[in-house]
């Protein structure tokens, strides 16, 4: 009963929150926090439960709705609930003086609820229903801000509808073939399906997941949507919602089809997995370099979200213990640090009055140190500096790629990482380092309620980086569920038999070396703090406004790569959209407005009917 309770609390909580908002804002805020807290608690309670199912009949087409919890769904559910809670907490301050807050909280809770629904549904129909609810409610929140967000939302919803319709096709086709929608039942039926049918199922369904996960040719909705949504929601979007694609792929590839079938799916060199790998690799590289030339803090993060998806894909496509673990772990890690980074971007936006262009900022480290640390740790996680969580998962993925003899994929992943280094540094440098502009001389650190989620996430990034064994244990349970060999783990990493990674050694090495260097540093002669313009201008006059070099930070490089970064896919879709519009406009001319023609249509139709009936 606990699963339906979770869903009821999630959905009901959203509605109650909305209604409470009509009474008082405070009540609404408290309720929102309570609901999301309750979800976290409830979901933590079902950890370690064995696979449990709850049946609810939908008296329609004789379908059963099944709710199911298993390690996979628990893993995603806790991410969803956790990030949901943090983003609600964050919103309390961030959204304080915005309008239509009832709507905002309602939609945010509603999205969380529907995402929970997708992961704990045990049959494809309820999966799809929750998926669709998720799509449109997300749309409602993406467009919340108006302005540019409208177009972003429209782009998102159209692509998402395309994806979900593809999925619908698959689901219905499975249903009409096997007469059931239960995932486990379909999984057993699919073992005997023909190759062609399996391919159809796999390709069509993955269209939807590729879209939602924003893999390369279908990524175009994401940067806009993430950049234009309000920041707490961007973090939800980027951390959780986008990763539903990974969940879906995992579900279809491993839970429904299973390894045996996947291995059969190839034509010569090209197999389904290799196509996905290619997509992943292209996504990584393309996204990393596109992020490099962005000037908008949230857009950088959005593109990084696109890129990091590629790593996850590369991880989970290879059904080896380390690859799968790496992919899944990367989902978790990415969710943590990208949420953190969006919180950072939001905090800056909040304090500077909506500035997202990083070139206008600088030197904020002095005013917002906590935010800076959060950003630094977040970016380190994003890059994968050792001792942050991102490192462990990337390490696993690289290892899989290299040892699995896929050096070119590994190369793409590495290049992507280097791109990440570049834009990650740019993010920090342009926002936090250097000269503090005059107008931001008096801004304050982010409010406490906004700091709290950031601090929590920062700690988590480091914690999982040093003690990767904690999440890895959960992930290995997922693997056991789909009969994959689980990866052996220790608390600090991977034991020697599975390829030795020991984060605690690295931690001590770094700490000790830092200590030694620091001692050296302390012993040396003292230094005097000076004004930043002093040393540069040697005392002579420099304009106060801005000499922090930020604009076009990687100018030579951008000049070189920009020609290759034209978003061909985006243009292509735009042309399709325009073309469709044009065709529609032409088609509508059928209704010419002159009644004689209309009458002629009628007679034409009659004649046509008679004609074909006479002669066929």
């Amino acid at each position: 009963m606990i699963l339906i309770t979770i869903l009821l609390i999630a959905f009901g909580g959203a509605f109650v929150t909305y209604l409470a908002g009509k009474i008082s804002g405070k009540l609404r805020n408290i309720l929102a926090v309570l609901v999301s807290l309750a979800l976290v608690v409830l979901i933590s309670l079902i950890y370690r439960r064995e696979i449990s199912r709850e049946y609810y009949t939908l008296p329609f087409l004789n379908l059963k709705l099944i709710l199911m919890s298993n390690p996979l769904s628990w893993f995603f559910a806790i991410i969803i609930a956790g990030i949901g809670l943090l983003s609600i907490l964050y919103s309390l301050e961030y959204m304080k003086d915005k309008e239509r807050l009832d709507y905002y909280y309602f939609t945010l809770l509603f999205i969380n609820a529907s995402m929970l629904g997708t992961v704990i549904s045990g049959d494809l129909l309820s999966f799809f229903i929750f998926w669709e609810i998720m799509s449109w409610s997300t749309y409602l929140l993406i467009s919340y801000k108006g302005g540019k967000a409208i177009a972003a939302g429209l782009k998102y919803i159209i692509m998402s509808i395309i994806g979900s319709l593809a999925m619908l096709l698959v689901i219905i086709s499975l249903y009409s073939r096997y007469g059931t929608m239960e995932i486990s039942a379909i999984a057993s039926y699919m073992q005997t399906a023909s190759i062609g049918y399996t391919l159809f199922i796999l390709i069509t369904s993955s269209l939807s997941f590729v879209i939602i996960n924003a893999f390369w040719p279908l990524h175009t909705w994401l940067p806009d949507a993430h950049a234009e949504a309000v920041s707490p929601f961007s973090s939800v979007l980027s951390a959780v919602l986008v990763r539903k694609g990974i969940y879906g792929l995992y579900l279809f590839m491993y839970v429904i089809l299973g390894l045996n079938i996947l291995n059969k799916l190839h034509v010569g060199f090209i197999s389904f997995s290799s196509v996905l790998c290619g997509i992943g690799a292209v996504t990584i590289v393309f996204a990393a370099f596109t992020a490099l030339v962005q000037e908008d803090s949230k857009r950088i993060l959005a593109w990084s979200t696109v890129g990091q998806g590629g790593y996850m894909l590369l991880g989970i496509v290879f059904a080896t213990a380390s690859g799968m673990t790496g992919g899944m772990f990367h989902v978790l890690n990415h969710c943590i640090y990208i949420a953190l980074l969006f919180f950072v971007a939001g905090a800056i936006e909040h304090r500077t009055g909506g500035i997202r262009n990083i070139n206008e900022l600088g030197g904020l480290i002095k005013r917002m140190p906590v935010t800076f640390i959060a950003a630094l740790v977040g970016i380190s996680g994003l890059i994968g500096i050792p001792l942050t969580n991102g490192f462990v998962s990337k390490w696993l993925i690289y290892k899989t790629l290299i040892l699995g003899n896929h050096p070119f994929l590994a190369f793409a992943a590495f290049v992507g990482t280097w791109g990440t280094v570049l834009y990650g540094y740019k993010f920090i440098h342009n926002i936090f380092l250097g000269q503090l502009p005059e107008k931001y001389k008096h801004i304050k650190e982010a409010p406490l309620l906004m700091q709290l989620p950031m601090i929590l996430l920062t700690v988590t990034v480091i914690l999982f980086g040093v003690l990767p064994g904690i999440p890895l244990r959960v992930i290995s349970a997922i693997q056991r569920q789909v009969a994959l060999p689980p990866l052996q783990t220790t608390l600090f990493g991977i034991p020697k038999e599975a390829g030795e990674l020991n984060m605690i050694n690295v931690l001590f090495a770094i700490l000790i070396s830092c200590f030694i260097v620091w001692l050296l540093f302390r012993r040396a002669a003292k230094s005097v703090p000076v004004q930043q313009d002093d040393s540069y201008a040697a005392g002579s006059y420099v304009p106060k406004e801005k000499y922090h070099y930020t604009v076009n930070f990687y100018n030579p490089l951008s000049k070189m790569i920009t020609p290759y970064l034209r978003d061909v896919a985006s243009l292509f879709y735009l042309n399709i959209a325009r073309g469709t519009q044009r065709v529609c406009n032409i088609i509508r001319r059928v209704y010419v407005g002159e009644v004689g023609y209309y009458a002629m249509y009628i007679v034409l139709f009659l004649a046509f009917l008679i004609f074909i009936q006479m002669f066929f």
């Binding site: 004689g596 002629m600 034409l604 009659l606 008679i610 004609f611 009936q613």
Partner: protein, 224 residues
Amino acid sequence: MRKIISLILLGIVCVGIIFALYSIPFGKDKIKVGKHYIYNGIKETGAVNIVTSVVLNYRGFDTLGEVTILFIAALGLGVVLYGKKKKRKEGLEPASLVLYTGCRFLFPLILLFGAYIFIHGHLTPGGGFQGGAIIASGFLLSYLGCPRKWISKERFNITESLGGLVFVIMGLIGLTIGGYFLSNFLPKGIANTLFSAGIIPILYCAVGFKVGAELAGIIYNMIE
């Protein structure tokens, strides 16, 4: 161009019709349900005029619909012509005396004739619609001939409504008494006499009044 296309299309339809009509030879006796009416009509309805018995008894529901359609037309005309500027024909020359007198003379006769037609609908050719149309022509005459003697529209409306109501109420009474809507609950009487055929004359009277009023109303609306 348009004409040619039209002709081609109509040609195709025409071919189809020709094929279709092969199975329906002209003038052959192919009556099926109708035969039943012809043989049992008098017995079952008491009306000598089989058409009337079909119109008001066997297919009385159609007639109700038909009355409704006319009603709709009247209402529709009212809706469409609503708010049109009423131009009283000031400069209208009064009709000549002959015409005026003729009209006044003929008007009651026409009404009477119409009434005759619909009252005897179950006996002779004719009926409510025909009678109503004749009555309406009387009003048309009076409108044309005696422009000053117009009858108020309200009365038409009331007559219309009452006629319709009588039809429906008769049907409902039939439903309660006979068990069927529009069933013939009155005694059928002796065939070929005026007071025969149960409710058919009553219905025809209602129809006659209604149609007369409606057509007159339509004419009124159009003229105005």
